[in-house]
């Protein structure tokens, strides 16, 4: 962990974080900042509200007394810093920066009338959000500290006597299973940029079969995998399965001469 950040007293600085019990300061000017430290720092927050709460607590302030100008400056300086080191900031942090800047500018404008309505305080919405967030942040720590099963206490149970099994095992519906799988694939498509390539099932089945055979036999000749009733297609599928397995380096293939017998052996044997 590199938190040996050089500090120059002459420069304006603000304290950002306590890492491993040590306070880390990041000068706002162009000193070298270890990107790792900043990244870890950011990751210790649950979003912009959490970060703002930290700045506020840092100044020993009540949420109600926040000095929007100062907070905004700190926050924006911090965001700039992150951009400078080209850290991929979540959009929420940028939205908050814009929001704070808006509040700041509204507060610097002269008030139009003397309506002393609380609604006129540009900060009130921010304060409300900070307060609301802090409630749940606080209570979530309490919930985590409630003893829970499997972590703090355990359930007592005993072995069963023999009994006539009228117990029916749950059944699985064929169509349901494929529906669930296609939903999984769709979900994957949504959350990832790559799509799982869908391979022919028969190849998959052969792959499992070959691996299973290799557990028992250690060595198999390729032609023994093929069954006459499966015909040419069967040979091709077996061969594809073999190539897939080799690609994943799950098996070893040996063919000692051209057009000779292809020998498959389990990779496990090597170890």
């Amino acid at each position: 962990m590199d938190n040996s950040v050089e500090l120059k007293p002459s420069q304006q600085e603000f304290n950002l974080a306590v890492l491993n019990g040590e306070e880390v300061s990041f000068p706002t000017d162009d000193l070298y900042i270890p990107p790792n430290a900043l990244k870890i720092f950011l990751e210790s927050f649950e979003g912009p509200l959490d970060l703002l709460l930290y700045f506020i607590r840092k100044q020993n302030l009540d949420i109600l007394e926040i000095n929007v100008l100062e907070i905004t400056n700190q926050y924006v300086a911090y965001i700039d810093l992150m951009e400078k080191i080209q850290f991929d900031l979540a959009g929420e942090y940028l939205v908050m920066a814009a929001y704070l800047t808006e509040i700041k500018s509204r507060m610097m404008l002269p008030k139009e009338s003397d309506s002393e309505d609380e609604e006129d305080d540009p900060r009130s919405e921010l304060i409300r959000r900070l307060q609301e967030y802090e409630r749940y942040k606080t209570v979530s720590k309490k919930i985590d500290s409630i003893p829970r099963v499997g972590r703090d206490f355990f359930v007592a149970s005993s072995g069963l006597p023999e009994f006539e099994s009228s117990q029916k095992l749950p059944e699985v519906d064929l169509n349901k299973l494929s529906q669930i799988f296609s939903e999984l694939l769709q979900r994957q498509k949504l959350s990832a940029s790559h799509i799982i390539e869908f391979e022919k099932l028969s190849t998959r089945e052969k792959m499992s079969k070959i691996l299973d055979l290799l557990i028992k036999e250690k060595n198999i000749e390729f032609h023994k995998l093929c069954e006459i009733k499966e015909g040419k297609i069967g040979i091709i599928v077996n061969f594809l399965a073999l190539l897939e397995l080799a690609k994943d380096s799950l098996i070893k293939i040996i063919q000692s001469k051209d057009f000779g017998i292809i020998n498959l052996s389990s990779k496990d044997e090597v170890h």
Binding site: E92, M107, E118, S158
Partner: protein, 188 residues
């Protein structure tokens, strides 16, 4: 005929989940025990195991036996896997669901100020701590999330109101807010 208390004891020890008293009545079916007799027997059992390492406790979906917490240190040595530690993001999401249920994912995001990852929702669903109880009638029909009985069971509590109290929103008289505005400008 075995003693009622023993039958009930054997049921609790053999089920891998909490059982309710009415379920026991149903199992005893053709015997002559009614709900009152069962409730009596259960309360006898609740007091019975003071000298033992386990106790009968009431949770949301019934009663179950649990090992007294003082023995956890030995038991955790029995398990090779470390119990899962949950992230702050997950715990905050869970808290919002617990206290503001039913709630949509969007509403959680509004309070937390960040997006909630699908993974967190799925982990909570997998653990059976939350479930979908409906859909809000707005565009996109977002799912409404709520906590389950299993969640309460796992925390060993019998109803939601036994959760820690949610800290009050600091209620501040509106007069106090205006002077602060001036202060803020001064310090600029």
């Amino acid at each position: 005929m075995s003693k009622l208390e023993n039958i009930i004891e054997s049921l609790y020890f053999s089920a891998s989940r909490p059982i309710s008293e009415s379920e026991i009545v149903k199992i005893l079916d053709d015997s002559n025990f009614d709900l009152k007799a069962v409730k009596n027997a259960v309360s006898v059992l609740e007091k019975k195991y003071q000298e033992s390492s386990f106790e009968l406790v009431k949770v949301a979906s019934g009663h179950r036996f649990r090992i007294k917490q003082e023995y956890s240190q030995w038991i955790s040595k029995l398990w090779s896997e470390k119990p899962q530690k949950y992230s702050r993001a997950l715990l905050e999401t869970l808290s919002l669901i617990a206290y503001k249920q039913p709630i949509t994912r969007g509403e959680i995001e509004e309070v937390r100020g960040v997006s909630v990852s699908s993974q967190i929702i799925r982990t909570l669903l997998d653990r059976s701590w939350i479930k979908v109880v409906g859909h809000r009638d707005v565009p996109g029909r977002p799912a409404l999330l709520a906590t389950t009985k299993e969640f309460l069971d796992d925390l060993n509590i019998s109803k939601l109101s036994e959760l820690p109290e949610l800290p009050e929103l600091g209620s501040i008289p509106s007069e106090v807010q205006i002077p602060l505005l001036d202060e803020a400008q001064e310090s600029a």
